[in-house]
Subunit: 369 residues, 2 copies
């Protein structure tokens, strides 16, 4: 399945911070066919560093999509049955307008003059895309991690436009620990002199700071157990400790490699803006209980979490489930056993596939019937 | 209890890496009185960023010791009964020779020419101090985190010199996850241009990198729950999000403050050398089982871990306990309930005190008897 990223330009979007952004480009991909009733459209929403290329092989780079094992013919989001859409989020750096985009007022990249965005702003732009594609109601909206936040926001902001939602390994609001890990990443970037208050475009980017941010991220995406299984205390190309500050352990080598590679594909300012959006996100708007906001929703829910995910622990998914149940909403919850930590939503495909296929089939049938 | 840090200079020490270090200064404090039989001495060993000032109020700075609630009259390590010693570790920056010390061969600080040190080297220097103090056998050696590693190393390296050991919230070897968190800290320091390959003495130190390293550390020392209780999603001096990159959340403010303060009291190169020593430490010397090395030990053991400590999880303490039991050694194990995460060994005093007091009393009695 060779796919090509498409682009659409919208004149303007009004943001939560009060500013307007004009114009707004959105990069997106679609897979499968929209049926005549326009009732089989599913929106896939990506996590912190994802992009519009969820599935298939990209026309340009030949790269598989970030959720290729879950989106495609015969998979969980079966493109033989459904019309699947995925777009790069607002504030991103993979085709949708973000801090690295040119500000038409100045002719220069926005950099830190980019308006602060929220998850709700991201979803507002996604709704513009869905309108543009002529889809009245999405059969489902689904994603993991920050993708789950967007899925939840859809059900609250546009309750008549989503039949179902599948938030995976996600939360209705970040905990202090999640904010703290994001803040470390931001501080690593902002304390790199090459960050230069965000004005590094056309110059040397803050590669060292962004690499450190990514290293922290990777540790939090894996579980203690999956790191032990993958690396243990194995040494890298040596029989004994080097007694120096070169790489001794394979896990060090892996983290440095992943950190350095990340710099080639991701913009540091986008990292700042998107992590802030995640930290600001609070479905309950600062109130203690999620119950009241859930009264707005009309969707069916399938909430999924993973046993070894310590970054987005199951209790956060259960909080969502309990709030929905307290308002008598239609919600199924699955805590799946996995050793992969937060990465499980990307790599632990088999059980997710079974559960999501069944949920989508029954949702589609009920809606059609 | 006003205490003064003392210093002793040793001519030389031979290190695991093959090099010799000469001379070696050791900063230490003692509390309580050594009895006539010289049988009541306890060595307290500190964690990554600790120092010789474990207890009392320092003569110079008026600062309480880092384990003041556990060491002193009537506490767990009761200085009315025991003679307690605490020294700054080799490689440290609080009076014991480390990378910031002057290399007599050059007249300049060692910086990165300091030899790579190990936990075993730290313990070797502690034994020189104990010899210097005229103590043949320690009644106990105890510490949390890296202190626990040193306590374990004592029992293996000098089995005839320690009657008992109390490793707390510790491990016989770092997991991939623990190495990974240390590596992130090292990369944060080494990617700060002010680090300058370690040659920053008398110039601007790598304050930003060291602060980021400390921020990561602090997150790992707390539990998800203790961060939620302490900070939640509370905002810092504002009613609503700032929609900027200033501090929004209290947890951000706390981490930035702790990061920036740390720079005033700790040397970045010491952070590099000591974290490397922790990562290298492997009581089993690269073999799969801890059993064989435990055959060397003659001490009684009290092993303590905390339920919410995810950085040094209980299974690591249990691995030590199981290995000791497999060799029929005298070992007690307590997993204490606590919400404080890894910090519990410093702050959750009540239950630790009960358990340690009893253990020390029976050890002292048996030994005297």
């Amino acid at each position: 399945m060779i796919v090509e990223t498409q682009r659409v330009r919208f004149d303007s979007v009004s943001l939560d911070c009060g500013a307007a952004l004009a114009p707004v480009d959105v990069a997106y991909e679609t897979y499968g066919q929209l049926n005549a009733a326009r009732s089989n459209a599913i929106l896939i929403v990506h996590a912190l560093t994802g992009d519009a290329h969820a599935a298939g092989v990209s026309h340009d780079a030949g790269k598989p999509g970030w959720w290729d094992s879950m989106v495609g013919p015969g998979t969980a989001f079966d493109t033989d049955k459904y019309f699947v859409i995925c777009s790069n989020v607002l504030g991103g750096c993979q085709g949708t307008t973000g801090p690295s985009s040119i500000n038409p007022a100045t002719g220069c990249p926005y950099a830190m003059s980019f308006p602060v965005i929220t998850i709700s702003d991201m979803v507002r732009v996604q709704k513009m895309l869905v309108d543009h594609l002529g889809i009245e109601r999405l059969l489902s909206v689904s994603g993991g991690s920050m993708g789950g936040m967007q899925a939840l926001q859809w059900t609250v902001a546009y309750p008549d436009r989503v039949v179902s939602a599948i938030p995976i390994a996600s939360t209705a609001r970040h905990s202090a620990q999640q904010i703290a890990f994001n803040e470390v990443g931001r501080q690593a970037i902002m304390s790199d002199p090459d960050w230069n208050q965000g004005d590094y475009y056309g110059k040397k980017p803050p590669a060292r700071g962004l690499a450190v941010a990514r290293m922290v991220g990777h540790i939090t995406y894996m579980s203690d157990e999956s790191m032990r299984e993958k690396f243990g205390r194995r040494l890298r190309n040596k029989d004994a400790y080097g007694f120096d500050f070169e790489i001794d352990f394979e896990v060090e080598s892996y983290l440095r490699y992943r950190g350095s590679r990340f710099v080639d594909r991701f913009d540091a300012n986008s990292y700042l803006f998107i992590t802030k959006a995640m930290d600001y996100f609070d479905l309950a708007n600062g109130t203690a209980s999620l119950g009241p906001v859930m009264e707005t929703t009309k969707a069916r829910f399938l909430v999924i979490s993973f046993t070894s995910d310590w970054l987005y622990p199951s209790y956060q998914s259960q909080e969502i489930v309990n709030a929905l149940r307290s308002r008598n909403r239609d919600v199924a919850y699955c805590e799946l056993p996995s050793n992969y930590g937060h990465d499980a939503f990307l790599v632990d495909v088999a059980e997710q596939t079974e559960i999501i296929r069944g949920f989508l089939a029954s949702t589609h049938k009920e809606k059609a019937g």
